[in-house]
């Protein structure tokens, strides 16, 4: 399973756009890229998933370049409530392999007023 690398921490201010980049140089052809968000005292929750190009939902956008060796999670106009840890995972989407996905330390995003 592909290993991911992302910044340990980031700071931002309310109203700014935040981009968190994840490197996954060994991504396989069948792998999808998934981002999770974890608030203090809660379990991680799914934010967005993509395979290539761009995916957008009501929470975030995910940009994936053609070589798929990295991905960028974009959070538009963050608020204080977006302060959380963000995890990038790569896996083939096969149910039996889902539990083998490796959560690293994630990126701790601190949004300031």
């Amino acid at each position: 399973l592909a290993k991911t690398t992302q910044p340990i921490s980031m700071d931002s201010y309310e109203g700014q756009e935040v981009n968190i980049t994840c490197s996954h140089n060994n991504i396989a052809t069948n792998d999808y890229i998934t981002w999770y968000q974890q608030f203090p005292s809660q379990g991680p929750r799914f934010i967005i998933q993509g395979y290539k190009t761009k995916v957008t939902n009501e929470v975030a956008s995910l940009f994936i370049p053609a070589d798929r060796k990295s991905s960028t999670l974009s959070l538009p106009r963050v608020s204080l409530s977006d302060t959380a840890v963000y995890y990038c995972l790569v896996g083939d989407g096969v149910s039996s392999n889902t539990g083998k996905l490796i959560f690293g330390q994630g990126t701790t995003l601190q949004v300031k007023p």
Binding site: T34, S41, G43, F46, V94, S96, T98, G99, F103, Q105
Partner: protein, 110 residues
């Protein structure tokens, strides 16, 4: 309705005791997990069950024993608790490629 629920949320107990954490999911998923999150926030998988059968058992002391009475439940029993077992334990279930976590159980061993 909470999709993945686990109890208790907080548990403080003495070394040497035996304790259990219960987990239930109402998502109809076939696969359930137990994860451990340590003080440095690393999330590590402990066990994975698919349709009540163990499919992943990472290097975990055999004091930890999961039990799945049916595919909607996966309980975690811990014998002879040690100080190093203090952590947050998350139950989860998954559809293809997406993991749904419970709220966590904060275990403190004193």
């Amino acid at each position: 309705d909470t999709a993945v629920s686990q109890t208790p949320k907080y548990l403080v107990t003495q070394m040497g005791n035996d304790k259990s954490i219960k987990c239930e999911q109402n998502l109809g998923h076939d696969t359930m997990y137990w994860y451990k999150q340590d003080s440095k926030k690393f999330l590590k998988i402990m066990f994975s069950y698919n349709n009540k059968e163990l499919i992943i058992n990472e290097t975990v002391p055999n004091r930890f024993s999961p039990k799945s009475p049916d595919k909607a439940h996966l309980n975690l029993h811990i014998n002879s608790l040690e100080l190093g077992d203090s952590a947050v334990y998350f139950c989860a279930s998954s559809a293809v490629g997406t993991i749904y976590f419970g709220e966590g159980s904060w275990l403190t061993v004193v």
